[in-house]
Symmetry: C2
Subunit: 189 residues, 2 copies
């Protein structure tokens, strides 16, 4: 049997294992945590849950909680072991980046010095914006964002914060160097 997991399936199984039960809760968990490095939309989550059920990795049941009709899912034995297989499979290693600010910097030779500086400035503001979002998440991550005894989400957040601080520092330094003429004065186009 094929044990391949689509990108979205990977977060879904993990979030189910961490305590989320419905598609809605999975989406909320993602938006509060992994969305900066592994996002998913409703349009992916609901159909994928169906597919995972067909494959026997999750089991659906009507949600016992009163009120709204929801569908709750839980991992099956197969689901658990497939999740664990993926979590320990070093061969699967997607790392994809799409960074428009960096692409603009790459094309810096096509711009005036002031335009490059303006782009770096915008990038710094972007870092600040993301850092603010990250710091809002800190308390939640520190206590475990769904149940207790979840310590690694906080570690991942720390990584994100340090990464953004690195980006910000790099931009400030580079901006200063270009401003001081120590780095490429681009030919006026």
């Amino acid at each position: 049997m094929s044990s391949h997991l689509s990108p979205t399936a990977r977060v879904i199984l993990g979030m189910l294992r961490l305590g989320a039960e419905t598609g809605y809760e999975i989406k909320r968990a993602i938006d509060l945590s992994t969305r900066f490095f592994w996002s998913a939309s409703f349009g992916q989550i609901y159909p994928e849950l169906r597919r995972l059920e067909e494959r026997g990795l999750v089991k659906a049941r009507p949600d016992p909680r009163g009120g709204l009709k929801r569908t709750s899912y839980q991992l099956t034995k197969t689901g658990e072991s497939t999740l664990h297989d993926w979590l320990t499979d070093s061969d699967s290693y997607t790392f994809e980046l799409r960074d428009e600010g960096l692409l603009r910097l790459f094309f810096g030779d096509l711009l005036t010095r002031d335009e490059v500086l303006e782009n770096l400035h915008a990038r710094i503001e972007f870092c600040d914006f993301v850092l603010d979002r990250f710091r809002e998440l800190e308390p939640e991550a520190r206590t475990g964002f769904m149940e207790e005894d979840q310590l690694y989400p906080h570690l991942a957040l720390s990584y994100g914060i340090e990464l953004m601080e690195f980006m910000r520092t790099w931009c400030e330094r580079t901006l200063a160097q270009i401003d001081a003429g120590e780095l490429p004065p681009s030919p006026v186009p």
Copy 2:
């Protein structure tokens, strides 16, 4: 008229402006430079060049060089100004990341300590691999990878190298801390 540029159109126009002429050359330029933060495949490039011609942003002509039959493209006036508009548009700011190693770390509570350490180790090896690729590109980037007077590609590469070094250092530090028990001992699943 709509001046929206698809992701692939953005690199294409930029690479044309930097001196690439054919779809093949654009692809090669991308693979030698932006592919780590802005990639594109032949299956995207050739159809997109057609679309850009229909929109009047580029002009095709049979390649003057003898030998193989190629199609060369060059930017039109409209193409030039559309490119410049995008390069100076701070509102357009895609930053997308898909980082499987980080997702595994996020789910670290579902693993044994040794399994987490193994994942961090794999991530360090990944950083080393990318750093090797980057350092291979250095000489090319330093001299201008298509024509002279291209200084920013080298700056973007420096950024990539420092970023990878940051990631590597973070992983080593975290690995040591977990190993020393200073960071979350995960409950055995």
